[in-house]
């Protein structure tokens, strides 16, 4: 057999692992449902064994996915919207909160990175605020903002601001003095220096921070939407759980993963665009 390239071999292994995994899952489910006759009282109470409440086999999830994805944007009332609409809401909230955070974090990070006084003055606040779980802000946000939609966006804002702020500050502070001297000997003004030298020099670090932030924002939105309810993929998962529709739960879990992967890949692409070798 001729040798395949590393990527080819890895891809074959991925497919093999996928099918083995699905096969094991399918087998174990059908083995489980055979036992229906001899359930303990506890199992009856928790709903195990009934056709509806059992963990669905992958084949059911695939059928469900096909149904949902063939009509993702239907809207049949508040509790019955297509998966596309729900994900759309979530992405909209994530991006709104995220960009608001970026608008503040990146200029502020520049300031902190350029001035050690600003860094020292703001550092205590950053150190205290940063470790707070974004969800801990939720009650306060709901109380002050009085609007669940805006509160969810605020939670995204507050969780995505820190990695961007710190990475921008770190990147800007680490710009080589030689490059700044090049700008100085060319008599570039502060703005020109910031945009033509400091920004490109710090861009890889800044984009790394942005990539971490978008990942966190996507993690947090699911939890936030479970709390505030109404719309979004997080609400969808919670709603289907309440309906005991585990097939939909599993399907939406997969969708969360896939969307998160694409968000991350987009920033990975951006990261490659701004990377440079010294």
């Amino acid at each position: 057999m001729e040798r395949l390239s590393e990527n080819r071999r890895a891809a074959i292994w991925s497919v093999v692992l996928l099918f083995v995994g699905l096969f094991v899952w399918e087998i174990s489910i059908s083995a489980q449902t055979v036992n229906t006759g001899e359930l303990t009282e506890y199992e009856l109470l928790t709903g195990a064994g009934t056709a509806k409440a059992g963990v669905p086999p992958p084949s059911e999830v695939v059928v469900k996915a096909w149904q949902e994805l063939s009509n993702p944007f239907y809207d049949a009332g508040p509790n019955d919207k297509g998966i596309g609409i729900q994900i759309g809401y979530s992405i909209y909230r994530v991006l709104t909160g995220y960009f608001l955070a970026a608008i503040i974090a990146i200029p502020l990070g520049f300031l902190i990175g350029m001035s050690s006084v600003a860094y020292k003055a703001l550092n205590p606040f950053i150190q205290v605020l940063r470790p707070i779980s974004p969800l801990a802000w939720m009650p306060l946000a709901l109380f002050i903002i009085q609007d669940s939609e805006a509160s969810a966006i605020f939670v995204i804002f507050i969780c995505s601001i820190w990695p961007m702020l710190l990475n921008t500050a770190f990147g800007v502070a680490g710009v080589r003095e030689d490059w700044v001297n090049v700008a100085r000997t060319h008599e570039l003004g502060a703005f020109k220096t910031a945009f033509t030298v400091v920004l490109p020099a710090a861009a890889p670090t800044i984009v790394t921070g942005m990539r971490i932030s978008i990942g966190i924002a996507w993690l947090v939105i699911v939890a936030a939407e479970m709390l505030v309810g109404g719309t979004g993929i997080g609400y969808y998962v919670w709603n289907e759980w309440n309906n005991l529709d585990l097939t939909s739960v599993i399907f939406s879990i997969l969708m969360i993963g896939i969307v998160g992967m694409f968000l991350d890949a987009a920033f990975g692409l951006l990261q490659r665009r701004v990377a440079y070798v010294e």
Binding site: T185, H186, E187, T196
Partner: protein, 299 residues
Amino acid sequence: MANSFLSIEKLTQRYPDGKGGEFTVFENASFGIEKGEFVCILGHSGCGKSTIMNILAGLSEPTEGVVKMDGYAISGPSLDRGVVFQNYSLLPWLTALKNVTFGVAARFPDWSKQKIEDHSIAFLDKVGLSGDAIHRKPSQLSGGMRQRVSIARAFANEPKLLLLDEPFGALDALTRGTIQEELLKVWSGTDQTVFMITHDIDEAILLADRILLMTNGPLARVAESVEITIPRPRVRTDIVEHPNYYAIRNHLVQFLGKRSAELAGQTSAEGETHAPETVLIEKTDHAADEQPLLQAVKT
């Protein structure tokens, strides 16, 4: 000296010594450089050459003293004073060409994009860079090519004064030789003044009109100014035949090997300026007397 193109007057640099006191790198250093001159400065590591250059570039402020160019005290960096840094200092995210156009666009803001690019390409060509190499990023260029880009960037800006801090320090001898020749080619025919730091005696003799010699630090001073009495154009292989060459070279070697240490740390009377003593080595007059003989030998 006071009416030289570039005049360095009573320059003093002190730094805190880390133990609460301070140490003096050099004190009351004064010298002048004429327009169009190529001046090299030689001295042992740590004597303060880069410090002087950074002050001339306007990148740092001396503790005391002034630097005047064209009669005006300099303050801060300026496009009139171009710098070639020891570590090239190219912007790694820009291609070689973009690194040069970056400077040209800053110097000539009202030029069209096309004109900026043509001008930059012409200067890259002068230092032997053309073709697809100019579209590569610095990381994809060799050390010699990077330094060429850096020199092209500085010369393309046509500054009145060029400051070079050990531009060839990191290069191998062969590459250094080629780039030295390219540097002479770009410089000759301009009325640009060059101030260059080097560790290499032969390089200094090949390039300079005058070599400034510094004693060892701390309390270093510019002790001598040696005129290089070898006519231009100079070619590496030919100048070694010139009667003055070895005399000058010996003088420099003696200074750096012995006298730089002997003269080190000598403080002089308060406020006295440390102007360098001019050294002129001229063996050709003597040779001229022997001319008939030499010619007789040749024929």
